[in-house]
């Protein structure tokens, strides 16, 4: 089969997209979600590891819970820093990337749906997150908030720490500890589903677009077609 010449000039320009603090947020967040999901699942479904022991001989369940609580704090504070960056980050990091605030955002969502899911030709004009990804991170942030409030809500019964007491209002809203805990468990699956889709789509874009999607979250650089940079002027909802 004949190889077609490229249809557009793919002169790539290097753009610094993700600052160190957002990259750090990403990896700390990924690690804490992983650890919290694993320890949380173990708390909900403890395996029968030991039998015919006496209680004084072990403490593995206590340690599992302890790790869960340590990472709960890391998860929380890491998120707080990210929330700060939503207002004071660079233009690829602010809340405008996640909350649709004008028509361009919706146009871009439609464009992404066409190229990613309807498999039409075309190329992305976004530099940072594409608009659909932005929406998916909005869902993630909401899920994180829900998981933090339900988690600290049930934790309130076990701790007198000031931060934990800030969440005393949660349990009555969910209708008791049992229901709060159940929702906390259900939300875990939300993270599992998000992570599957997220990792897949990142690899997909890295593969199909070839703009350094994956490496951007390590080094912060993306490679953007020069003509996209021009188009971006007319479509950038982020200005």
């Amino acid at each position: 089969m004949a190889i077609q010449p490229a249809l557009h000039t793919t002169q790539l320009r290097r753009v610094f997209v993700f600052s160190l603090s957002v990259r750090l947020f990403h990896w700390i967040n990924a690690l804490s979600i992983f650890v919290l999901a694993v320890t949380g699942y173990l708390i909900g479904n403890p395996p029968a590891l030991l039998t015919s022991q006496e209680a004084y001989q072990g403490y593995w369940f206590g340690i599992t819970r302890f790790i869960h609580f340590i990472f709960a704090y890391i998860f929380l504070f890491n998120f707080v820093i990210r929330i700060y960056r939503l207002f004071f980050g660079n233009r690829f990091e602010t809340w405008r990337n996640f909350i649709p605030s004008n028509k361009g955002f919706f146009r871009e969502i439609w464009q992404v749906v066409r190229t990613d899911f309807l498999f039409t030709r075309g190329h992305l004009v976004s530099i940072g997150h594409n608009a659909l990804a932005g929406i998916s991170y909005l869902f993630l942030f909401i899920l994180m908030i829900l998981q933090i409030i339900t988690g600290f809500g049930i934790y309130a019964a076990m701790s007198d720490a000031v931060i934990v007491d800030l969440f005393n209002w949660v349990v009555p809203i969910f209708g008791g500890d049992a229901a709060t805990r159940l929702w906390h468990h259900i939300f875990m699956w939300g993270f599992v589903v998000f992570t599957l889709i997220h990792i897949y789509l990142v690899f997909y874009h890295d593969y199909v677009d070839g703009r350094g999607e994956v490496s951007s979250i390590f080094g912060g650089w993306k490679f953007v077609e020069s003509d996209t940079m021009k188009e971006q002027d007319t479509t950038d909802y982020n200005k």
Binding site: A2, I3, Q4, P5, A6, L7, T9, T10, Q11, G44, N45, P46, A48, L49, L50, T51, S52, Q53, A55, Y56, Q57, G58, Y59, W60, F61, G62, T64, F117, F119, R121, I154, A157, M158, N168, W169, P172, G175, G176, D177, A178, A179, R181, L182, H185, I186, M188, W189, V192, V193, L196, I197, Y200, Y204, Y207, V208, G210
Partner: protein
């Protein structure tokens, strides 16, 4: 006026009655000490309790029974110290209580109304049972009135209102889905007054006595938590005072009820124990004169003092059924299914991508190999 006359009439103290009943001073002091301990008072609190019961006249009490099974009353009259039943129930001016009062019919109604009038603003109202409302209000009628009407009437002149048990505090079994009688806990009927909630099915007798003695002694409501339960009895979870707790922390769990480890006292978490999500004093006060409590008898806590505990089932598994998905569903089954469907979708997408985007990818590969000059590309193509 008639009611002023009655109000000023000197009535007897609890101690007067105790002496008359044949209790000696020692029994009385023991009772005061026990009560003070249950209420979490310090040593000086014993004197306060004794003094109050000696000197203060007994308050008038109205005890209403609506949609309930009377297990609260049962629990109360069986509380460990005999003086609880004898004094607080027999001898406090229990002016009206359907189950135990001597009069019936019009005589009982008369007694109720006299109390409401003569002690307006003074009597303690104890409510056992939930109240059917709306279209179903007529499901519980006494003396020709619905429970809702009666409750509204008696609540008006009450100095304090106590919701006995889970029915009155959160609706209990009759309010479980689908709640055919629209059973309603009393704090949702009486909205303008503080309701002391003493949940449990039934609540522990000593806890009930403790609440009453507290009000007698200090003439004010006990300290309540944000949902209206007395902190002295409901501030800790069963799990926090459970003697099996070391097994929980060590990860030693009963797998089934015929598991030999059940006998060894392993934690009942995996067979559905609701101790970690239930606020009650069972682990400390225990039942039947401190003899035992469910977990000690080898059965997990079912969370009977928690709102909606019937809807958070099944009782014998840790994970409740998934809301809205019916029995046999739980968060893990549904979550796993969701993850499976997602993974299948992504796999399909990956396959389609490799077919539909083949061209784009080939172009990219060619770009890398031959650069961007169309001419060069074409010449390379020919040689291929």
């Amino acid at each position: 006026m008639m009611n002023i006359e009655v109000k000023t009439k000197k009535s007897r103290s609890v101690y007067d009655d105790a002496v008359e009943k044949g209790f000696n001073r020692r029994d009385f002091m023991k009772f005061c000490t026990t009560m003070a301990a249950f209420m979490g008072l310090s040593a000086s609190g014993v004197t306060a309790v004794a003094k109050a019961l000696e000197e203060k006249s007994r308050p008038a009490v109205i005890w209403m029974h609506f949609q309930e099974c009377t297990c609260c009353s049962e629990s109360f009259i069986r509380s460990s110290h005999p003086m609880v039943a004898d004094l607080l129930l027999d001898n406090i001016s229990l002016n009206y209580t359907e189950t135990l009062q001597a009069p019936s019919g019009h005589a009982a109604e008369k007694s109720l109304h006299e109390t409401m009038e003569n002690h307006f603003g003074e009597y303690i109202l104890l409510v056992e049972g939930s109240v059917p409302t709306g279209d179903m209000a007529s499901c519980c009628c006494i003396g020709g009135k619905t429970a809702e009407q009666i409750l509204n009437e008696v609540a008006e002149g009450a100095a304090a209102i106590v919701a006995w048990g889970s029915c009155a505090s959160n609706g209990c079994v009759q309010a479980a889905k689908p709640n055919p009688t629209q059973a309603t806990p009393i704090h949702k009927v009486i909205k303008n007054k503080t309701i002391i909630k003493v949940p449990g099915c039934p609540p522990i007798g000593e806890v009930m006595a403790g609440v009453i003695v507290h009000m007698l002694t200090f003439e004010r409501l006990p300290e309540l938590d944000s949902t209206g339960r007395p902190k002295a009895f409901y501030s800790r979870r069963v799990h926090d005072t459970c003697y099996r707790r070391p097994n929980y922390d060590a990860g030693l769990f009963v797998e089934t009820f015929d598991d030999p480890n059940a006998k060894k006292g392993y934690c009942l978490y995996k067979v559905g124990c609701r101790g970690p999500v239930t606020y009650n004093a069972c682990g400390v006060t225990r039942w039947n004169d401190g003899t035992s409590f469910p977990i000690q008898s080898g059965h997990g806590c079912i969370g009977c003092s928690e709102a909606n505990y019937w809807d958070n089932g099944p009782f014998y598994s840790h994970l409740a059924e998934f809301p809205g998905f019916g029995i046999e569903s739980n968060a893990d089954k549904i979550g796993l299914a969701a993850a499976g469907i997602t993974a299948a979708g992504l796999t399909a997408h990956a396959v389609i991508t490799n077919i539909r985007k083949r061209k784009i990818i080939k172009e990219g590969v060619a770009e890398g190999k031959y650069g961007l000059e169309p001419k060069e590309n074409e010449s390379q193509e020919k040689t291929e």
